[in-house]
Symmetry: C2
Subunit: 377 residues, 2 copies
């Protein structure tokens, strides 16, 4: 968008030995991402009373109780450990000032940067699809609470569901309002399809919880619906916004594959990362009865779900599970699968680059692909 | 739409002594309402697996546990008291075949009938806005559960929240997809605003629960956001769909006022109706700590919230509360207020009728206004 010419050739694209760095990409889009944050803050808090109402009904105190905080929740929280009575405008400031990786927004801005110069609509689209993501996270909290109830002592009180559901609905409404402002019906429809897919993914995930026999294809179907559908919607919508209807199918397939990379890496990090780096508990998938690709590959090596069950019960800790998975070569095999999908992403980008006036903005997208699969948090 | 010429002059419009009958209006739009039901059924169950997933995750058994069933839930339930394993197509049949008053759809079809002949888009709009309404009902169940936890023994298990949240999100997504098919951005935006308003209304309602001092203006603000905003969106959107942009503001005000009538009548029925007629428990608002207009007017007569609290505690039953409210003339005063708002609705319709080629379709709308305020269920 406004600073593509500053992209350094030292980004070291497609060199797996150099860990890709999102921060350089974020700097490229710094001004646009700031606009995305501002737009989100304005839309969430635009109603004169919404923020105050959330505080009044105990939400501000409730956020911290949740076991699955997301970036909005963290952003809404002041730095201090106690929660002072905060005004909506202060909340909005936090939202603008503080972090959140804004992965989907960055991806959209990068594509629009590569394909056109329609900056303002790009910001609106990026903010809208981040809000959709955020709404699903809030509702996932409600859904996962049901689960935690069965396995964990620190179950949030039921009261927390109300603000999470309402805030999620509010974000959906704001997001679709912003999508309508893009004035392209196909983008609204694509986002609806992605939202439906995420719902079905969540429902099917509930079905597999605690099932040691979950097949590999079910895992891929789940992550396709839960994660890849929306990321595919981001890449498709960005291309449609740039008037590249005839390429939008390939942009969708690029984004969809990238989404698989994103979720596979996420699931791997739940084993290999540590809480300090990741910013949340590791081993939470196993604790929640969600058996992801590493354990599915392990089970395939062992021959039965019963052996997987015994192994998890006997290992007792995430560290011991991870150690064994590493010894069995399972973690490396997952990394290989991630790299295979990354190659597909790079090939899509190479094709797409040929169809467009080739420019260095595509290098940013290649770097994003590397980051997505090789990140440490 | 297809049968306006069959509307009988014996509908006895604006004659308060004759109870208005929705069934005649429903017959007028019978074929269109059937299309609305079919469209809703198709959209909800279009995904090959969604219905099966809901059954697999225990939703089919869970519906009946809820204390606030809505028309979809009732429609999804077979006639028999036990819940057999039902296929998605059987569920869809139920959805098409069985009831639900489809109030919002009927209103939209009546306006479109009065203003144009764009039948197919009218059906799509009607189905979409019914789905929005339904999504809010599903999420209200989750929100109200939080409440019931505090006061009632029959709290649904936490597990029921997951399908309610997901089904609601799914309906929102389907609804916005259908709105996008109407290809008018202003309708999408209007619906987003109404959805936001409903969220804020729910949040503010939580704030007032159990508060005997709830001011009259807070009550009206609540019902405006919770109910009137969406009904205003229905009437505004219907007029926009018919290309009557210049009248849409007055159509909105008509629908908004009609929505106030709708909710005031609903709140009155919670006192005056009986469970057999109403199809649900009466007295539930008081039991949930929601003090509506009849009790607010009673308190204004008594002078303090403390006296209202004492009265409710000492009365002990909904019948005794209602008897006293009737004796004090409070129920009649609420009916008067409803009639005042109905008069405003009729005046809007008279204005609007002058702006359009006056036809008998407006008489249907007048009858709907009468029904909305004077209904017994």
């Amino acid at each position: 968008m406004n600073s593509s010419s500053t992209v350094s050739p030292s980004l070291d694209v497609r060199n797996p030995s150099a860990p890709p760095d999102l921060s350089q990409i974020l700097i490229t889009f710094d001004s646009d991402l700031h606009q995305v944050r501002t737009l989100i803050a304005e839309r969430i808090f635009r109603e004169e009373s919404f923020g105050e109402l959330l505080i009044a009904t105990g939400v501000s105190g409730g956020w911290r109780e949740w076991d699955h905080p997301d970036w909005l929740i963290r952003m809404l929280e002041p730095e201090s450990s106690t929660m002072p009575a905060t005004t909506p405008s202060q909340m909005a400031e936090h939202l603008v000032a503080r972090g959140g990786k804004l992965y989907r927004a960055t991806l959209i801005l990068a594509i629009i940067n590569a394909l056109s110069d329609n900056q303002q609509k790009g910001v609106t689209l990026a903010a809208a699809l981040e809000l959709i993501h955020l709404a699903t996270l809030l509702h996932d909290d409600v859904i996962d609470n049901a689960d935690m109830r069965r396995g964990k002592p620190s179950m949030p009180t039921l009261f927390d569901n109300a603000p999470a559901v309402l805030m999620g609905d509010h974000l959906y409404a704001r997001a679709f309002e912003m999508l309508a402002e893009c004035e392209i019906m196909r983008i609204v429809s694509a986002t609806c399809r992605a939202t439906s897919a995420m719902c079905r993914g969540e429902v099917e995930q509930l079905q597999w919880i605690g099932d040691y026999e979950i097949p590999e294809e079910a895992y891929f179907r789940l992550i396709e619906m839960k994660t890849a559908a929306l990321i595919g919607c981001c890449t498709e919508s960005a291309s449609v916004l740039c008037g590249k209807e005839e390429q939008s199918e390939e942009w969708y397939r690029f984004g969809n594959t990238l989404g698989l990379v994103f979720q596979m890496a996420d699931d791997l990090l739940d084993f290999t990362s540590d809480p300090a780096t990741l910013g949340k508990q590791t081993g939470s998938d196993v604790a929640d009865g969600k058996f992801t690709l590493p354990l599915i590959l392990f089970r395939e090596g062992q021959g039965s779900g019963e052996k997987l069950r015994t192994f998890i019960n006997e290992a007792g800790s995430n560290e011991r599970i991870t150690k064994r998975l590493r010894e069995e070569g399972v973690l490396e095999r997952v990394s290989e699968r991630i790299r295979d999908f990354q190659k597909v992403c790079h090939r899509h980008l190479d094709n797409l680059q040929k169809k467009n006036s080739s420019n260095e903005s595509f290098e940013i997208l290649h770097t994003l692909v590397d980051f997505t699969g090789n990140r440490t948090r």
